[in-house]
Symmetry: C2
Subunit: 208 residues, 2 copies
DNA sequence: TGCATTCTACCGAGCGGTCGGTAAAACTCA
DNA sequence: TGAGTTTTACCGACCGCTCGGTAGAATGCA
């Protein structure tokens, strides 16, 4: 996740079941889940602290501030998209296949580590202007990547007749919408949803 | 200590020309816009008061409380959907035509009175459990309406092969996603977007 | 005058964040 | 090895501030 302190065995009082690798990463993970459920403003530092068995003061030993906490989560989400979607898909030559993989992989990530990626798209208002600009820029370049893929499809006459700018927005709507309702352990598996969303998008994009 | 009393100099500001009757409606409208821009928690009652040229106490003459304010906005949004989408579309016999109109009309409303309808889908967490349940129930029946339309299409062999439950979620994703990016006065007209989203959905739904 | 409207002045609760302090683990080095 | 020292990991108490909300006086209008 993000840089953390030395790997020191802890066993203070209760809890501290080793299992997870390190405390700070734990905190960021739990915080991401809480923030996704209740929203950034509605989630207090005390709540987050309680959720990881700390007092607020104890929490501040690991986290420099609320805004930085959010920033860490968002940056992690962005990196996950970068490594898990953009990089592998840039290697795909066929534009239709590439688009399909973008949609499938992004949706799959959403179902797997929902917290960070959902927050990434929903809570950028809580960020400082500097951090917000950085995130917005990355999102824009991701959008551009998808747009270019659509342009290639258009050139080859494979695209349904439509406005490419609006089409790309619709595609992101379909992907990000999953975060609105999907909950792990529910009726559908992540892979199932990812395939279905990919089918949905491809049917909407390609010429009939 | 220092003298703190201020002179009782006061002046009377001319009231806006609007009649006092729709002052409350004005307030709800402005509040909806503010809340959509900044989020419910991040929008304070003082800000809302300022936006309608009142002090906070003055605002409370018209509004019983923050939660009730949100509830009023959300209920208005729900009624708008009801009268502007569900009722007119229930009268349409042809399932494909009906689905198309649902998507088009809902999207169009989103671009026209974005505030209330966006909040309707994004800020239900701020509601009291009672009010939240009521809204969730209405949303569910709306979803069911769309689902049934899809089932009819399936029976007639017009539906692309897919899971209907997931398809309906994808359709709502496409509609609601517009609220994420659309701003009046931008690059696209509301009607343009509504048609494009409707095309997108129909292409994704119907058998090729 | 009486009523509708809007004000000033204030409250308690909860927020993000800090401070001083400390038990126990980890690190020295004779 | 073990006494002395430093570091890690945390807590209780508290601070300044803003929030939603209220009491009651002041004002405008019929």
């Amino acid at each position: 996740m993000l840089e953390t302190k030395k790997p020191v065995k802890r066993y203070r009082k209760k809890r501290a079941e080793s299992s997870s690798d390190d405390r700070a990463a734990d905190i960021y993970r739990v915080a991401a889940e809480l923030i996704r459920e209740k929203g950034f403003d509605a989630t207090s530092m005390s709540e987050i602290a309680q959720a990881v068995n700390l007092t607020k003061a104890g929490l501040y030993y690991y986290v420099p501030g609320k805004e930085e906490l959010l920033n860490g989560i968002v940056r992690y989400g962005m990196e996950t998209i970068e490594h898990g979607v953009v990089v592998p898909c840039q290697a795909i030559e066929d534009p239709a296949q590439r688009l399909r993989e973008v949609v499938r992989r992004h949706t799959l990530l959403l179902t797997q580590i929902g917290g960070a990626i959902t927050i990434l798209t929903d809570e950028i208002n809580g960020l400082s202007p500097k951090h917000r600009r950085a995130i917005v820029a990355k999102k824009r370049s991701y959008l551009e990547f998808v747009r270019e893929t659509l342009e290639i499809l258009k050139l080859r006459g494979l695209l349904r007749e439509c406005t490419v700018g609006l089409l790309s927005m619709n595609i992101f709507s379909a992907i990000l919408g999953v975060a609105r309702w999907y909950r792990p352990g529910g009726q559908f598996e992540g892979a199932e949803v990812a395939d279905e969303v990919a089918d949905f998008v491809m049917a909407a994009v390609l010429k009939a």
